[in-house]
């Protein structure tokens, strides 16, 4: 019995994989029919609202909800008393460990409010107006405490302390006093001091990056309905509804089986929707009110209360020989974690020098709490910050040595067999190919004018697999229902449908993909880590394999044939040898018609813990122009080259490249959390928090490099995270080329650019400036 795919790599028809099929959810998206988090409603639903702390740091002395509860139309009020405290227990949560003791305090403040916008109470009422009035009737007595916002200030011994029980981990001897420094981490490769002794040129710089928000257009939204027996239904916009289920069960003391979570369509997540905010509150309110409760964050709440990513301070010192070989790299990273420990400093440390083949590396990282909202993951968490600093210094080394920046990177590029700075050796990777692709572009060779600059930078991200379930069900008419447990953020359904159609040898249009709820599939980890297309496609291949085996087995019984007398190919089970002269092949549709009479419904169920995710590396090239009168920076041209292993659906791979580049442009040029001296966020809205819009960016050219990942049946690598890593460095390098000034602080917004230009005119920039070309 053979189990060949049909349209795909083992088939004969060329296949859908690698083609730009129309996304199955496209029509609903463009017509407005698609249902996002806030589009779900239930009869009799209440509206939930959250009372948030106006103080960045305050002890909560007393909460009196009696007046709010007495207001007609108010059906439930919840506070810290409605959530059982959680013991200090770390569980794996992506690139950092999560402590439920912190999670329960983040969804609802207990002893203290730790940032402006921290949830203190919530109400459910028959209308939004009544809910808002009820919030005003909740009397909270605060003891206002000194606050600290900046990461460096938070590290000082005399800084206001957020947690009395937080002692710095990773230092010896163990500290006797608590601190805002949650953890010190370090990786060492080789002998850093010996490496610097070999260096002919050493560049040392300190950089600062601002906290930036993931900036998803769709605010957090949740609709919960709890029945009298505790059975709970939840609809929400999330990157991982199985994770939401797990967190809510833990925080509310429910059996996991009692909760069914359905993920809505999602208007962006980028890592920020991998945690819970409203979901446990909506369930707690519904449980108390015995009616459905709907909650939607305002944009201001999104900014003030949901995780941005870290701002940071980064020191980098790199050494190279006169012919350009990197011989030593040091970095010290100080990352804001927000109010609770768990910044992405660990991957920041591991990624800092990952693109390069270096023998001597030492990177130290600090995870630091301050009175800001708890950070959440954001595309390649931690990596853009550390790699921005390193890529800026790489550019300076190229200039000092008079070397082409692409050639310098090529000379030092990590390749198959290179020992990564974080330990293991790389398998096949495509950094060299991306550098070569960029160098061959017309873009690279186009001349520039005064006040225009060109920058290049490379970037790395690990990628992951993980637990994934997907099913394929043959319907009565031979069409196929595809179900997967990872929310579709960037074209997943199209990519998986391409694979399913190829594996089963049927037309793309005959496969209908949906995202299954938590009651329909086994545990599936979230959409993140660039894993959903990688692991989902592996689960689909497994499910299709089961179907093909089942069809072949049924054919053997129907035809009284032996297993080696049949094969599956081109969408049908085919008799082989002499049998082929007597019997006609049976298509999937033929089997569907007789499924009931030949053993029952036919389907496959891929349940895997996907391993073998291959890293993805990329190189970005950007041209920009600086207006010396206003400091405004215009992106003129942008090209991304990145290794996708194999693009299951090139349009959505390119979309990931383009989206990451645009978010990186915003991070580099404009986006930042701005706090006043009072510790309050001053720009919690899109008017004042300046994200790039379509008119701010040119068409991003995308070059899909394909160095196959040998651990995936089609060669796939995740692509979603890496494209946000290089833009910060590429743009900073282009800024240097345009202005002669090495900007070491992000964002490079017009006021900062103008200030730097004026300082340079006054002769105040010293070693980090030169006249514009």
């Amino acid at each position: 019995m053979a189990e060949n795919g049909t349209n795909g790599p083992s088939g004969t028809n060329g296949g859908y994989v690698g083609t730009r099929t129309i996304r199955p959810d496209g029509l609903d998206k463009v017509t407005g029919r698609a249902r996002f988090g806030a589009d779900y409603n239930l009869p009799g639903q209440l509206i939930g609202r959250v009372l948030r702390s106006p103080h960045p740091h305050a002890r909560i002395v007393r909460i009196d909800t009696s007046k709010a509860e007495a207001l007609p139309g108010v059906k439930a009020v919840i506070t810290r008393d409605d959530f059982a405290d959680q013991s200090s227990e770390f569980i794996p949560a992506g690139e950092m460990l999560m402590n439920y003791k912190d999670v329960v305090r983040n969804v609802m403040a207990r002893e203290k409010a730790l940032y402006e916008g921290h949830a203190v109470a919530a109400v459910a009422a028959t209308s939004a107006a009544i809910a808002r009035r009820a919030l005003k009737l909740i009397d909270v007595t605060y003891e206002v405490l000194p606050h600290v916002i900046d990461v460096v200030e938070a590290m000082r011994p005399d800084a206001p302390l957020l947690h009395d029980d937080l002692f710095t981990a990773g230092v010896e001897p163990k500290p006797e006093k608590p601190s805002n420094i949650a953890k010190r981490i370090e990786i060492v490769l080789g002998d850093i001091e010996a490496g610097f002794k070999k260096a002919d040129v050493i560049v040392e710089r300190e950089f600062k990056t601002a906290a930036v928000h993931q900036g998803y257009i769709e605010p957090h939204a949740a609709l919960a309905s709890v029945s009298e027996d505790g059975s709970t239904e939840l609809w929400c916009c999330t990157q991982g509804h199985f994770i939401v289920r797990a967190h809510c069960a833990r925080l509310l003391g429910l059996d996991i089986a009692k909760i069914r979570v359905t993920a809505s369509e999602i208007g962006g997540g980028f890592g920020g929707k991998t945690v819970v905010y409203l979901e446990p509150l909506a369930i707690a309110l519904s449980r108390k009110a015995k009616r459905p409760v709907k909650m939607v964050m305002s944009r201001e709440e999104v900014f003030k209360s949901s995780g941005p990513t870290s701002g940071a301070t980064v020191k980098v010192k790199m050494g190279a020989t006169k012919d350009g070989k990197f011989v030593a790299g040091f970095a010290e990273l100080k990352y804001q974690a927000g109010a609770f420990q768990g910044s992405p400093v660990q991957p920041g440390v591991m990624c800092a020098y990952a693109p390069y083949d270096m023998e001597n590396v030492k990177v130290i990282g600090y995870d630091v709490v301050s009175n800001r909202p708890k950070v959440a993951a954001y595309r390649a968490p931690g990596a853009p910050i550390s790699e921005y600093a390193v890529e800026s210094v790489v550019d300076e080394i190229a200039k000092k040595l008079g070397l082409d920046p692409i050639e310098l990177r090529m000379m030092n590029a990590a390749r198959e067999g290179t020992k990564a700075a974080y330990g293991p050796k790389f398998g096949p990777i495509g950094l060299e190919e991306t550098l070569n692709s960029i160098k061959k572009t017309e873009h690279w060779n186009t001349p520039l004018r005064k006040w225009q600059g060109r920058g290049v930078a490379s970037g790395f991200w690990f990628n992951i697999g993980g637990e994934t379930c997907a099913s394929l069900t043959i319907n009565e008419d031979g069409t196929v229902s595809l179900m997967v447990g990872t929310p579709d953020i960037g074209g997943l359904r199209a990519a998986l449908t391409n694979i399913a159609a190829d594996e089963l040898g049927i037309p793309y249009e005959k496969v209908r993909p949906i995202i299954g709820d938590t009651g329909s599939l086994g545990f599936t980890f979230l959409t993140g880590g660039s894993r959903s297309a990688f692991s989902g496609s592996m689960a689909i291949v497994e499910a299709a394999k089961q179907i093909k085996a089942e069809l072949c087995a049924r054919a053997c019984k129907l035809w009284e044939a032996k297993p080696d007398q049949v094969e599956f190919s081109n969408g049908a089970v085919r008799p082989l040898g002499e049998l082929a002269e007597k019997i006609k092949p049976m298509t999937i549709a033929d089997f569907a018609k007789v499924a009931g009479k030949t053993g029952g419904p036919i389907g496959g169920y891929g349940r895997i813990n996907a391993q073998g995710a291959g890293p993805s590396l990329g190189t970005h090239l950007v041209d920009l122009e600086v207006d010396p009168e206003t400091g405004r920076v215009t992106i003129l041209r942008y090209t991304v080259a990145q290794d996708a292993g194999k693009a299951l659906h090139p349009a959505y791979v390119e979309g990931q490249f383009q989206g990451g580049a645009v978010q990186g442009i915003g991070w580099a040029l404009n986006e930042e959390y701005i706090y006043g001296a009072d510790g309050k966020l001053q720009n919690a809205g899109f008017l004042d928090y300046r994200m790039p819009v379509a008119s701010d960016v040119p068409m991003i050219d995308a070059i899909v490099v394909e160095v196959a990942n040998p651990k995936h049946p089609y060669g796939v690598r995740g692509v979603g995270e890496t494209p946000i890593v290089p833009p910060l460095g590429a743009i900073a390098n282009a800024m240097e080329a345009a202005t002669g000034i090495r900007f070491t602080e992000l964002p490079m917004s017009p006021p900062k650019v103008l200030k730097a230009l004026k300082e340079r005119s006054a002769g105040g920039m010293g070693a980090i400036s030169r006249p514009p070309l």
Binding site: I91, A93, P424, K425, G427, N463, I464, G528, G720
Partner: protein, 80 residues
């Protein structure tokens, strides 16, 4: 096989970051490390990544390890 602890894990082993062990699976490897250094057990259970001959595995206790493999124990990796 050669086993290397990356990052802060070596602080739990008195600074020893490299071992010679003879496990045939990740599960056995964790058991042997925990027997040598009991403080490691909780951290290995909480979630680490294991790179076997350059290939990173997560939550893969049953993954086989060859006698001459090079193994790195890393912090767990995810993303956004």
């Amino acid at each position: 096989m050669r086993v290397v602890l990356i990052g802060n894990l070596a602080q739990l082993t008195g600074g020893v970051a490299e071992f010679r062990l003879s496990a045939t699976s990740v599960k056995q490897l964790f058991q042997q490390l925990a027997e040598l250094h009991p403080e490691l057990e909780r951290h290995l259970a909480e979630g680490v990544a294991v790179a076997i001959d350059g290939q990173i595995y997560q939550d893969a206790l049953l993954e086989p390890i060859a006698p001459d493999s090079e193994v790195f124990i890393l912090p767990q990796i995810a993303g956004g």
